[in-house]
Amino acid sequence: MSLNTSVDAGAAALAAPVIDRTRAKRKAARRRRGLVLLFMSPWIVGFSVFFGYPIVYSAYLSFTHYDLLSAPRWIGTANYRYLFHDDPLVWPAVRNSLWIIAIGVPCQVVAAFGIAAMVARARAGVGLFRTIFYLPALAPPVVATLAFVYLLNPATGPVNLALSHLGINGPLWFQSPQWSKPSLVLLSMWQVGNTMIIFLAAILDVPKPLYESAQLDGDGAFQRLRWVTLPTISPVILFSVVIGVIYGLQYFTQAYVAANVASGQASQAGDQTVNNYGYPEGSTLFYPVLLYQQGFRYFNMGYASALSILLLGVAFVVTLLIILNSRRWVHYAGAERG
């Protein structure tokens, strides 16, 4: 009995500091959370003001009729019904966007990889080649587009001039519905500098013994590419595909400028009475161009918001699909994925 009491007394004596300690721990955790929030606050504020709020507000606007002059008027799902069932321009725009993604992104990735692989093999003047191939990426998109429209001018441009000297009748490029999108792809391939630099870094980073080991078993260039280079740089390929697809979904500047300039309206680009969106024949009417047209030309802000919310959803889903699919073919060095 006496033993029991002494044990209880001891337990009581121990219990008090234990409670104190938990309290102190909780307090410290609270303080730590506060500190984390404090340090994160610039980003949190920035994100809320410039991303969070606009996205939520766009989502709201997409259920309204809003012309910027009168207050938004709730119309339920009418915008979405019009989008999916009635708007004759949505599906051509979606098709154009899909085209530029399906053709443009692979072309860019292959071009960036090809240039990087060549530069990586250069024995001398690596810096020079790197600079030459990177420079176009520094040109602002508007300037680059203007230059390309000029270069590819069917009648006076140097490209068709050169082709005619070779006896080839050059295409109409930006003036032809068949060639306008390929022209834009050419433009995007000329501007792959950023992607090329990332590929170059990845290629130079492939461990040499992997190549040497492969050499002992067979040393065809294709085998090296298939079994060593591509698997090792696969994270970079994934990165450039994801970035390329997102960029393709948002493809606007070049299409807008090219259509305007090519349609001969360069001097009157600000003239809102002439509709040159998607020139020629709607072939460059990409989804973001349609969105812009609805929002800032027709001031259908509600409908434009519905279009942008759909774009956001599609971008999210597509990116997710690519990343899920990538687990089968992307290898991360050091990561221990199944």
Binding site: P207, P209, L210, E212, S213, A214, Q215, L216, D217, G218, D219, Q223, W227, V228, P231, T232, S234, H331, A333, G334, A335, E336
Partner: protein, 355 residues
């Protein structure tokens, strides 16, 4: 199966003047386990890579099985190699890594799978076949690299410091495994290491390289007992041989009161005398020395002393029984066993034989 012959094989790296491998002449017998050993920069890895075809041969020839392979690409030399960092493909499973050489040669999948199973069984890798190298321990990766090398039974195995990334215990175990494997297959093997313990335990013969030149090639015991020059004498054996330059008089050099007869037919002058630690006893008389460090390695202890020999201060290492070893700070007397001493020419560094 094939023998390997280096004929005046030379490699000069672009932008350098002194050859990394200088007119190497070496004949490796069919089925032999040859170890190339030397300090960093001795050219041992370069010599191996010349044999693999991963390094150009600037002069001379390399022959495998009598066939001149000097200008053949690596894949046509029928050699396989284990790299220092294994060079496994991190994105392929263990099975795919091992099967890789067969796959490149277009071997049918059913045969490939069967061979992979056999090799995996031999190396104890059956349970890891579906894993990626990143999920394996260092020793397992090493075995995968071995598996990839043996799956197609090449004429020559090349190993470039394959154990240097393993911990000490595993290294000893893998060393035994490699020796057993080589004995089983009987494939000519060229093994590069800077670790003389590996060289001595693995090699049928050991070739010592220094500054691109072959110093000596022979069975491990021969290298230890009859080093051809001062470099080999100092390089083989741990701790290193005690080497001191001493003048001779009346056909003897005097070392710690012990007269050691110099090689016959040599003039009086000075000699480099070499005494291995085990040939230097802690005794009651001899060279007076001050004990600086005692390294107890179990049964034996190595006694590192400072002493004055022939008028110059030097460090001497003696081996003693661990239980009877002196303590740090003690004064001891060191006495060489004259009959076990080695002599070298101080000018050329070459061995001088006593007959």
């Amino acid at each position: 199966m094939a023998d390997v012959r280096y004929v005046k094989a030379t490699r000069i790296y672009p932008g350098t003047h002194s050859p990394a491998v200088d007119a190497l002449d070496l004949h490796i017998q069919d089925g032999e386990f040859m170890v190339l050993v030397g300090p960093s920069g001795s050219g041992k890895t370069t010599a191996l890579r010349m044999l693999a075809g991963l390094e150009e041969v600037d002069a001379g020839n390399v022959l495998i099985g009598g066939r001149d392979v000097t200008d053949l690409p690596p894949k046509d030399r029928d050699v396989s190699m284990v790299f220092q960092n294994y060079a496994l493909y991190p994105y392929l499973t263990v099975a795919a890594n091992i099967a890789f050489p067969l796959r490149m040669r277009g071997v049918k999948k059913s045969i490939r799978d069967q061979r992979v199973r056999e090799v995996a069984k031999l190396l104890g890798l059956e349970d890891y076949l579906e894993r990626k190298p990143g999920q394996l321990s260092g020793g397992q990766r090493q075995r995968v690299a071995m598996g990839r090398a043996i799956i197609r039974l090449p004429s020559v195995f090349l190993m470039d410091e394959p154990l240097s990334n393993l911990d000490a215990k595993l290294r000893v175990q893998m060393r035994a495994d490699i020796a057993a494997l080589q004995a089983d297959f009987g494939v000519t093997t060229v093994y590069v290491t800077h670790d003389q313990a590996e060289a001595m335990t693995l090699g049928h013969r050991v070739a010592v390289l220094h500054e691109g030149k072959l110093q000596q090639c022979g069975p491990p015991r021969g290298l230890y007992e009859r080093p051809a020059n001062i470099f080999v004498a100092g390089f083989i054996g741990s701790p290193a041989m005690n080497l001191c330059t001493l003048p001779a008089s009346n056909g003897n050099v005097s070392f710690g009161g012990v007269d050691v007869p110099v090689p016959t037919g040599s003039s009086n002058g000075s000699y480099v005398l070499g005494v291995r630690p085990e040939s230097l006893e802690v005794a009651t008389e001899g060279i007076s020395a001050h004990v600086e460090v005692v390294e107890d390695v179990g049964a034996d202890a190595f006694v590192f002393c400072s002493a004055e020999v022939g008028g110059q201060a030097m460090r001497l290492v003696a081996r003693a029984e661990a239980r009877r070893a002196p303590q740090q700070g003690d004064r001891v007397s060191l006495r060489p066993r004259a009959e076990e001493a080695h002599f070298f020419d101080p000018a050329s560094g070459e061995r001088l034989d006593r007959r």
